[in-house]
């Protein structure tokens, strides 16, 4: 063993003996600093013969690297164990803690409405809104439901004490928004109209006198009933899932003709009635100043609350208006 190796071995032994980072760092000047044996040995290389100098220099480098490596490795080990000790002293039982804040919650109906809006916005529609208190013109007459018509009774309208009797009412559907849009906007029209609607339904597990609907209206050139069926099918797949099918069944609404109800398929193969739809009645277009020989289109509508009830299998729709935080905070 040469002089260099002896120096190195002694240094490594001292490094291994150091008990903590501070002690180790204190050794550095004597082992690797200016006054260390290996450092002064380097300065003495110049005194050697040239042929010995190279070989001695290489050995000295190896010895020095050995010490450097031992120092670094020992330092890492000491630091790690010191950190581990320190971490142990700050151990927490995280199950002791319970957050006192919670996020807020969007109402279930808002969540359903936002999702529906997003689906239709993706299909190129904009969103129209209108007042909840309406005149008979917007709620009935412009929609081809004259005062004597048997269909009027089926809307179970809640009237408001303004003007003549039955002149002003809480809208019984969001269709008045269709009329207001067609009066104010030239075709093409691609809108949906979500909003609150009202009927004289006594509140029970499946009914509310105030509930939410969404309607769609498309007026363009050459719009067909096939477009209506395809649009409903696209929406149904986008909202309920690719595997859900839709179908149209003939029905009757004064404001559309032909009219249909539309169903969606359930897992067990049966059909669930979702809403009504049809081609906009030419008389309704004329009432809004739109030429039915130039423009035609379709409309559809269904309940929003029911979708929320279905999705979460609520057993009582009144939860939607009870505003009980134990309910609101579930969603």
């Amino acid at each position: 063993m040469s002089f260099y190796e002896t120096l190195a071995n002694d240094a490594v032994a001292a490094i291994e003996d150091a008990a903590d980072v501070e002690t180790l760092d204190g050794l550095r000047p004597t082992l690797l600093g200016k006054k260390a044996g290996l450092t002064s040995a380097k300065s003495q290389l110049g005194t050697l013969e040239p042929d010995q100098r190279k070989e001695a220099g290489q050995r000295l480098n190896v010895a020095r690297q050995l010490v450097e490596a031992a120092f670094a490795s020992r330092r890492d080990a000491l630091a790690a164990s010191a950190r581990a000790e320190a971490l142990e002293t700050e151990r927490l039982d995280l199950t002791e803690f319970q957050s006192k804040t919670s996020p807020g919650h969007l109402h279930l109906v808002t969540q359903a409405r936002d999702r529906l809006e997003d689906v239709f916005v993706g299909m190129g529609y904009t969103i129209a809104e209108g007042p909840e208190v309406e005149t008979a013109w917007y709620n009935f007459e412009a929609l081809n439901i004259p005062e004597w018509h048997p269909a009027r009774g089926s809307f179970d309208t809640i009237f408001v004490n303004l003007g003549e009797p039955e002149a002003v009412m809480l809208r019984s559907h969001t269709s008045p928004v269709q009329i207001r849009t067609m009066e104010n906007q030239k075709p093409p029209i691609y809108i949906i109209a979500p909003g609150r609607t009202f009927r004289t339904d006594t509140a029970d597990a499946t009914h509310l006198p105030a509930f939410n609907q969404i309607e769609g209206l498309v007026i363009d050139r050459n719009i067909t009933m096939g477009d209506l069926a395809g649009t409903i099918d696209t929406f149904v797949r986008a909202f309920f899932g690719e595997e859900v099918k839709s179908r149209l069944r003939p029905s009757y609404f004064p404001f559309t003709e032909p009219s249909a109800e539309f169903d969606i398929s359930r897992d067990d193969g049966s059909w669930l009635e979702l809403g009504g739809c049809g081609m906009v009645n030419p008389q309704v277009l004329r009432n809004c100043g739109i030429d039915p020989d130039e423009w035609q289109g379709f409309a559809f509508g269904f309940g929003i609350d029911r979708l929320a009830v279905m999705r979460y299998q609520l057993d009582d729709i009144r939860e939607l208006v009870n505003n009980d935080v134990r309910f609101l905070r579930q969603f």
Partner: protein, 790 residues
């Protein structure tokens, strides 16, 4: 409208198959089937039994003990919850082991200690009508042996009942024959009205009765005939069963035939006791205002001018046209001669009267949709006479057939192009013609331009226009055959800026731990007063309940109720928000109320600053211009802890706390911070104006200043003054402390602000900062009574 399969088959024998498939077919052509019931099946084990004895249950009030003989002559004890039986009555009886149509198995069991060996049945329990009230008493069953299977006693055959929801545009489907016509067309089987035949006698209706149509706009057509040797008794079982199956109660042989004909052919009709109608003379006219009549149900009705009446020769009203007959000429057990009348009434006239009197009788329900004014009226008269003749009555050999104004249905030009353009189909004229003729429309060959001339049948009053006819083509073509396409709008879909902003506000409030509530907009009459608000809410004409009869003018009462409700369930603290419409009194010339979209936030167990935090959050979310709080006492709010919210110089809402008196009225404990904004006005005004300012790369310096400020001066005034004094190099002002007490005057407080100075292009020197500080202090000192604390 309910129909029986066996009855449909009388018009179209080819209608047959699986009941569920038939129901699907009906639904597919717009006759939506709500329910399919197989009747007469599954009644094995139900027999005719005789009541032998009735006695109280020793240990129960609501059931009694009944001994019946079910065929073996031995008394069999059953417990029964109905009390309409007498000893000797014949009843349907389900023996032990019977599986009832609803799936329930009859077992021998003890009820409160007494054995029950079977079940006495109501009509509904054996699938015979809707009658759940009491046990079915079989008054005409004496010819049958006790123990005979009930299906033999009642002559029940297996049949299928379809309950169809008929839409308002389908007057024709309000009859068995009409449903059969449509279903036969859909199935491709033939449909025909059976021939009716009966003998007549040589008495002349014209010699015994007369009809005058005074108002032809009311009555399009009216037929009448006299019938003699009438015996008013009970109807044959088959008529009774069909009436019961379709939901009508058998009454007597004449009324039952009247109802039978209405159900079968859709033609309502009315029978008068001929001896009670002077000279058999009837006239059809509008009522006089205030004219009175007692209707069949014994109720006195007051009429108005637009109602239609049938009057006798003395001009006395003996019936409300199309709605209900009068009591005076009603047939009775002693009636021997009747005048039967069948009319076509103007649907809007009938509809208005039905609505006004709230009398939706079976007849009126048909008249108001518009019944058939063609051959079907004669057909119905023949059917009525045939059934009367079978009961032994004699029929006069002529019919009075008077005409008023019937609907004018000119042939309609229908463009085949238009059909295909509306339906998205590729039908040729032959296919269109086949669809239409299958349901009785007449179609002339197309002209050169591809226009068909279509004749509308008289049983389709609601059908008038080309579009009406296109709907028929679509219906018979089948909606499931439409090729599905999706139109591509030229424009693009997006939320409006208003809608995006509203979503942002909602999201910010959710982030601030607020739960969204959606109370209904109805208030109880005292709610506004309890909330300290003006009682000027718009009221409802026909509220469901008194507690929901006023429309809200503020979101406050709804929130307070929600807080009280949740506190009563020991929940809290509560942080609620809502976006909803309120309805303010409208300006004088407007019919509709002044409807606005408001945003409200309520925080329970929190004081006013919590509301200001929310306001700042909304301000930051929307980047509102110049939001100011102006001290005020808004209605319902805390008199010394509330303020108006002024945005860009306009009053837009209120923030602060709810008035403690209001909290007490709603039963709320703790303070409630409150904010209400006219969100619509805010979002329709300026907002979202964000401008880029360069982010400085140079160090900033903070300076703390405390001022003694009189209580009369709001802190925001001092902050504003400091901003003014500091100019653009004052990048933020934070009010971080308020102190009252030693060293500060009694009517003042110390307000401490932290000012941060920074320049975009250099590091500010100590001298510059000193100058800025001095400028800020000078600006604050311009407010009277403000002094820098040192």
């Amino acid at each position: 409208m309910k129909v029986l399969l066996s009855w449909l088959q009388e018009f179209a024998p080819g209608i047959d198959g699986d009941p569920v498939d038939l129901a699907e077919t009906l639904s597919s052509i717009g006759l939506e089937v709500d329910a399919v019931t197989v009747t007469g099946a599954d009644l094995d084990g139900v027999v005719l039994a005789k009541v032998l004895d009735l006695r109280p249950h020793p240990d129960a009030d609501k059931i009694q003990l009944v001994d019946v003989d079910s065929g073996d002559g031995q008394p069999l004890q059953v417990c029964c919850g109905a009390f309409n039986m007498s000893v000797g009555d014949l009843i349907p009886f389900a023996t032990v082991g019977t599986v009832m149509p609803n799936g329930m198995e009859i077992a021998q069991r003890k009820m409160r200690g007494e054995m029950s060996n079977g079940m006495c049945c109501s009509g509904a329990e054996i699938g015979f009508g809707d009658d759940h009230d009491g046990i079915m008493l079989l008054t005409d069953a004496a010819t049958h042996e006790v123990g005979t299977p009930i299906v033999d006693v009642l002559g029940i055959e297996r049949d299928v009942l379809f309950d169809i929801e008929v839409t308002a545009n389908r007057p024709d489907a309000m009859s068995v024959a009409g449903v059969a016509r449509d279903l036969a067309a859909a199935l491709g089987v033939s449909f025909a009205f059976p021939e009716r035949s009966y003998a007549t006698v040589e008495t002349s209706t014209a010699g015994q009765a007369s009809i005058a149509i005074v108002d032809p706009s009311l009555c399009g057509r009216i037929l009448a005939r006299t019938i003699h040797n009438v015996t008013v008794g009970t109807s044959p079982a088959w008529i009774q069963q069909r009436l019961i199956a379709l939901g009508m109660r058998p009454i007597n042989s004449v009324v039952d035939i009247s109802n039978y004909v209405m159900l079968e052919l859709g033609q309502p009709n009315h029978t008068y006791d001929l001896d009670l109608v002077p000279d058999g003379a009837i006239a059809v006219r509008r009522a006089a205002d205030g004219e009175q009549i007692t209707t069949l149900d014994g109720t006195e009705r007051v009429l108005i001018e637009r109602d239609g009446v049938i009057a006798d020769g003395t001009d006395r009203a003996i019936g409300i046209a199309g709605v209900m007959g009068g009591a005076d000429t009603e047939i009775s057990d002693s009636t021997t001669s009747v005048l039967v009348e069948m009319a076509w009434w103007d649907p809007p006239s009938i509809s208005r009267t039905v609505k006004r009197l709230n009398l939706p009788s079976e007849a009126a329900t048909r008249y108001r949709r518009g019944i058939d004014w063609g051959d079907n009226m004669v057909r119905a008269m023949d059917r009525f006479c045939e059934l009367m003749a079978e009961s032994g009555a004699t029929i006069s050999d002529d019919v009075i057939d008077a005409a008023g104004t019937t609907p004018d249905r000119a042939p309609v030009p229908v463009r085949v192009d238009r059909i295909n353009s509306l339906l998205g189909t590729d039908l040729d004229p032959d296919a269109v013609t086949a669809h239409l003729t299958s349901i009785g429309f007449g179609v002339e060959a197309p002209n050169d331009a591809g226009v068909l001339t279509v004749h509308i049948p008289t049983w389709r009053w609601d059908t008038e226009t080309e579009t009406d006819i296109i709907e028929e083509v679509g219906r018979m073509h089948g909606y499931d055959k439409l090729v599905r396409t999706v139109p591509k709008p030229d424009g693009f879909g997006q939320l409006s800026e208003y809608q995006q902003a509203r979503r942002s506000v909602r999201a910010a409030l959710v982030g601030a731990a607020c739960d969204e509530i959606q109370p209904m907009p109805f208030l109880a009459p005292g709610d506004l007063a309890n909330a300290g608000l003006a009682e000027d809410g718009v009221t409802l004409t026909n509220p469901l309940v008194h507690e929901e009869s006023v429309l809200r003018t503020s979101l406050m009462p709804g929130h307070l109720k929600a807080i009280a409700y949740n506190q009563s369930h020991r929940a809290g603290p509560l942080r609620f928000f809502e976006v909803g419409h309120v309805f303010l009194q409208s300006p004088d010339d407007q019919l509709l109320p002044d409807e606005r979209e408001y945003l409200a936030v309520s925080i329970s167990e929190a004081d006013a600053p919590a509301a200001i935090e929310v306001l700042d959050l909304i301000d930051a979310t929307l980047a509102l211009p110049n939001v100011q709080l102006r001290t005020s006492t808004p209605a319902g709010m805390h008199p010394t802890r509330s303020a108006d919210i002024v945005i860009a110089g306009k009053l837009r809402g209120h923030a602060g706390e709810i008035d403690p008196a209001v909290l007490e009225a709603f039963g709320i404990t703790g303070r409630v911070a409150w904010l209400e904004l006219d969100l619509g006005a805010v979002l329709n005004g300026p907002w979202g104006n964000r401008k880029y300012t360069q982010v400085s790369k140079f160090p900033s310096s903070d300076v703390d200043l405390a001022f003694e400020v009189p209580d009369t001066i709001p802190a925001s005034n001092i902050a504003g003054a400091l901003r003014k004094g500091g100019g653009t190099q004052l990048v933020s002002v934070e009010h971080f402390d308020t102190y009252r007490g030693t060293g500060v005057a009694d009517d003042a407080r110390s307000l401490a602000f932290r000012l941060r100075f920074q320049a975009p292009d250099r590091t500010l020197t100590d001298d510059e900062i000193g100058e800025l500080r001095a400028a800020c202090v000078a600006a604050a000192h311009k407010q009277k009574g403000v002094s820098l604390r040192t």
